[in-house]
């Protein structure tokens, strides 16, 4: 018990120290370096907490936006998982299919999302659907690439086990390739989930119709020079990204940690 507390402390204290240093520097800059007139560039920590999170109306607005952004990111990620794993499984069926499809997956990854913004607006409107689509664009590639890598990395000897008993394509996929690919898929999922959160916030800046997400609020507060509230929204957006990262890390440990060492990362 005591050992565990010490170990926890060793893990938690160093980053906590860095956090305190950063908060200290922040306070120093906003109170000492910046004149009151220019203080909006970096509002003091206590003001961000008081105005951003302490005021019930503002908090309600932030939480509603957080909920919307989470839904956009979640739906985008879900679509990417289904589409990404589906595409990877399809490509794993033959080298020919992989050669045919893979270039387009790379294209989707490399097109600057901003270049597609007007098109998405025309086709799907400047609201929820287009925001989700941005999330899909930003999260699809890591899922496809990692799943395909996982499926392709199955050792030849394990395939021979299935050859010996003349296992069919689907048996092999279900009992060998997908389980073997799970650790890689979770790595992809973790990267993709971060991408999806980024997509949901960035998408807000361009597709502003409908309920506001965190990105919409950030941009509104910016135009009003309400910098304490803007900082609060930015912090919330970062917290969402971190939470998603931690949750998928824990999920990976829970699912594959019992047999695969990479899940510790």
């Amino acid at each position: 018990m005591k050992v565990r507390i010490v170990r926890m402390a060793k893990k938690v204290l160093p980053p906590l120290a860095v956090l305190l240093v950063v908060l200290g520097a922040w306070t120093f800059v906003s109170h000492v370096v910046l004149s009151p007139r220019r203080r909006f560039l970096l509002p003091p920590v206590d003001e961000v907490v008081r105005v951003g999170f302490g005021d019930p109306d503002n908090l309600a607005e932030l939480l509603a936006a957080l909920s919307l952004t989470s839904r956009v990111a979640g739906l985008g990620l879900l679509i990417s998982v289904v589409l990404g794993v589906g595409l990877a499984v399809l490509m794993a069926q033959s080298r020919w299919l992989e050669r045919a499809v893979y270039p387009y997956v790379v294209v989707v990854q490399t097109i600057p999302v901003l270049a597609l913004v007007p098109l998405f607006g025309f086709w799907f409107g400047f609201g929820f659907a287009s925001r989700v689509l941005v999330c899909v664009l930003l999260s699809l590639f890591p899922l496809v690439a990692n799943t395909l890598f996982g499926i392709r990395s199955v050792p030849e000897a394990q395939h021979q086990l299935f050859d010996l008993h003349r296992a069919g394509r689907w048996t092999r996929l279900w009992k060998l390739q997908l389980p073997a690919a799970l650790p890689a898929m979770f790595t992809g999922l973790r990267i993709a989930s971060g991408g999806s959160v980024i997509g949901a916030v960035v998408g807000d800046f361009f597709f502003r119709q409908g309920e506001p997400g965190l990105g919409v609020l950030i941009d509104q507060y910016r135009s009003q020079l309400a910098s304490a509230r803007m900082f609060a929204a930015v912090i919330l957006a970062s917290a969402l990204g971190i939470a998603v990262f931690v949750v998928f890390g824990a999920l990976a440990r829970w699912v594959v940690g019992r047999w695969h060492e990479s899940a510790d990362g």
Partner: protein, 243 residues
């Protein structure tokens, strides 16, 4: 005793022109263990893969008189996400055995290799020797008539190797399968087999056959007898002359 496996004039060339196996002929009958030994890279594993149907010969014929073939790889080749028991059940699943039958057989073979209490453990927590026992149990699940071994004990320490050799002979005495055992150890070949076939370096041909006169069961003390040492010496000689 009936013939289980016949390879006649089997030739294997790899794409790119490497001639791996040169007109190999060998026969395995029910109730006998045939060891196939040779220097590394001589194509003995390739011969085994041809025998198992994992690889088609470039020319020649392969005849298997049974479908119940147990194949044991060089590595245990367990699926790391499955527990011991589920690894052992794998071939039963692939062959469509009913669940209750699969369970019953898995219990039986795990007991036979001394791992009855490790059914729920995943491979990462087992020692090298135990993993190899799981691989043996997995092959036993199909109740094989013909056993094919591809240097199964090569990566283990000597003591574990001897233990598993004895284990194998016990299983052999109980089940009476025929076996083709690939190895590069003359001692292992002589200890386990009725006949030892010796292959030349690549392209692998069978260049000698040594009959082992010792009957079964073979006590572990056999390994330290002068007759055993002499026979191992003569197998090694054949091997040296071949290369």
């Amino acid at each position: 005793m009936g013939e289980l496996l016949a390879l006649d004039d089997v030739d294997v060339s790899f794409p790119g022109g490497v001639h791996a196996v040169d007109r190999v002929g060998l026969h395995v009958r029910a109730g006998e263990i045939v060891a196939l030994m040779g220097p590394s890279g001589c194509g003995k594993s390739t011969v085994l893969q041809v025998a198992a149907g994992l690889r088609a010969p470039t020319s020649g014929t392969v005849t298997r008189h049974t479908d119940r073939i147990g194949y044991v790889f060089q590595d245990p080749t367990l699926l790391p996400w499955r527990t011991t028991r589920r690894n052992v059940e794998l071939f039963g699943e692939l062959d469509g055995l009913p669940r209750t039958e699969r369970r019953a057989r898995a219990d039986r073979v795990l007991t036979a290799v001394g791992l009855a209490e490790f059914g729920h453990v995943r491979p990462a927590r087992l020692s090298g020797g135990m993993r190899m026992r799981v691989a043996l149990a997995r092959a036993l699940l199909v109740e094989p008539e013909l056993f094919l071994f591809d240097e199964p004990f090569a990566a283990l320490d000597e003591l574990t190797r001897h233990e598993l050799g004895d284990e194998l002979l016990r299983l052999f005495a109980r089940h009476g399968f025929g076996a083709l055992f690939v190895t590069h150890s003359a001692g292992e070949a002589v200890y386990l087999a009725d006949r030892v076939l010796v292959m030349s370096p690549r392209p692998g041909r069978i260049v000698g056959e040594v009959a082992v006169p010792f009957g079964y069961p073979r006590p572990p003390e056999l390994r330290s007898s002068p007759e055993f040492a002499a026979l191992v010496g003569s197998v090694s000689q054949t091997l040296v002359r071949a290369s």
